[in-house]
């Protein structure tokens, strides 16, 4: 007899009393709160949307607007913000729809794919936001150099460009690292399993 068939017998004969729960226990468990990674992705995703958008509350809008106006950027800022809010709305809708589509009754592969897709929506939104912030930073720097061109020495201009570059890279770097840690921590197991099952299907 095959070695495993032997073990299979032991498997089939394992008692089913160990850890058996009563109907009341099951009822209580079913009512408790899920702590699945899907829930975490949803919570963290919402926090990311809220967090990124509340950054604007830290900026004195009137003062910033006056500055933009001085540099002749008010139209650029106005329209780019309308576009940015449109894009935010698009990402939020996609995020919610993807989240809703996740179903534990799918096959394992489909389920993992959907979870990863939901996470990627938020990642793309963060990437878009970082890009948008970098763009604003660059445009404002160029505009402020332009406005004050006559008062600035070459050395000062180079210094401003350099400082902006460093600040932009630093902000992007820190956010990227935070992102990697957060999702790396949350989705390490899932990503590994997904890769394994995807590889498995490539062998067709």
């Amino acid at each position: 007899m095959d070695l495993l068939e032997n073990y299979k017998k032991a498997w089939n004969n394992q008692p089913d009393t160990e850890g058996k729960r009563s109907t009341l226990d099951i009822y209580k468990l079913a009512q408790s709160k899920s702590r699945s990674i899907v829930k975490w992705i949803f919570i963290i995703g919402i926090l990311e949307f809220v967090g990124l958008n509340s950054l604007y509350f830290f900026v004195d809008i009137d003062e910033a607007y006056a500055e933009y106006k001085k540099m002749g950027l008010e139209n650029f800022i106005f329209y780019s913000q309308i576009i940015a809010y449109g894009i935010l709305f698009y990402f939020l809708t996609m995020f919610y729809l993807n989240y809703k589509r996740i179903s534990t009754t799918d096959s394992t592969r489909t389920l993992m794919k959907k979870i990863i897709k939901t996470r990627k929506t938020v990642r793309n939104y963060v990437l878009f936001n970082l890009g948008y912030m970098a763009l604003i930073m660059v445009v404002v720097t160029i505009a402020s150099i332009n406005t004050n061109f006559d008062d600035l020495s070459n050395k000062q201009i180079i210094l401003i460009i350099f400082a902006t570059l460093i600040a932009t890279l630093l902000t992007l770097g820190v956010l990227w690292l935070f992102y990697q840690l957060l999702y790396g921590f949350l989705l390490k197991k899932l990503s590994k399993n997904y890769k394994e099952i995807a590889k498995l299907n490539e062998q067709d």
Binding site: L3, N6, S107
Partner: protein, 164 residues
């Protein structure tokens, strides 16, 4: 209506809870983690129960939801010890009528399964539960042929661990 559904769920789940327990034993190595995963499986089965249409057997459907929870939704708690707690879960099977040799075999089997990857665990579990390839392939979302190939590999790997 909700009450009816709840009652039906409770009966179905109680009768089939052993599926969840076996999956917990495969995917966790201590009692706390076992209970955590069992709780999450119960929540997921209940949450999706209204989608269960009864065109398949409840147990078939539950295998899928429970395995999905173990593989994709459940995150091991960070304080999960390695194998030293093994005997804590595996399993104070002290049923009196239970054969000694079989108990040892079962312990060895669980220990060996713990060394497999999550996907291999799922394959071996479905094999031990005598599921047909078609069902295994559908549960995991892979082709029939791939289920066969991968199953043979997982079985070989398990044999090598059991009998090096």
């Amino acid at each position: 209506m909700q009450k009816d559904l709840e009652n039906k769920f409770l009966i179905d789940f109680e009768t089939n809870q052993n599926i969840a327990h076996k999956i917990c034993r495969i995917y966790t190595t201590n009692k706390d983690a076992h209970n955590d995963l069992f709780q999450e499986i119960t929540i997921q089965v209940w949450k999706n129960y209204s989608k269960f249409r009864g065109d398949s057997k409840f147990s078939t459907w539950m295998y899928r939801v429970a395995l999905n929870t173990a593989i994709s939704l459940y995150r091991k708690s960070t304080r999960q010890p390695k194998t030293q707690d093994f005997n804590d879960v595996v399993y104070k099977i002290q049923a009196t009528a239970y054969d000694d040799t079989e108990e040892l075999q079962l312990k060895a089997l669980y220990k060996a399964i713990h060394k497999l990857s999550d996907i291999e665990k799922a394959l071996i579990f479905l094999y031990l539960e005598d599921k047909p390839y078609k069902e295994i392939a559908e549960t995991l979302g892979i082709s029939n042929g791939n289920a066969r190939v991968k199953m043979n590999r997982a079985k070989e790997k398990l044999k090598n661990i059991l009998n090096p």
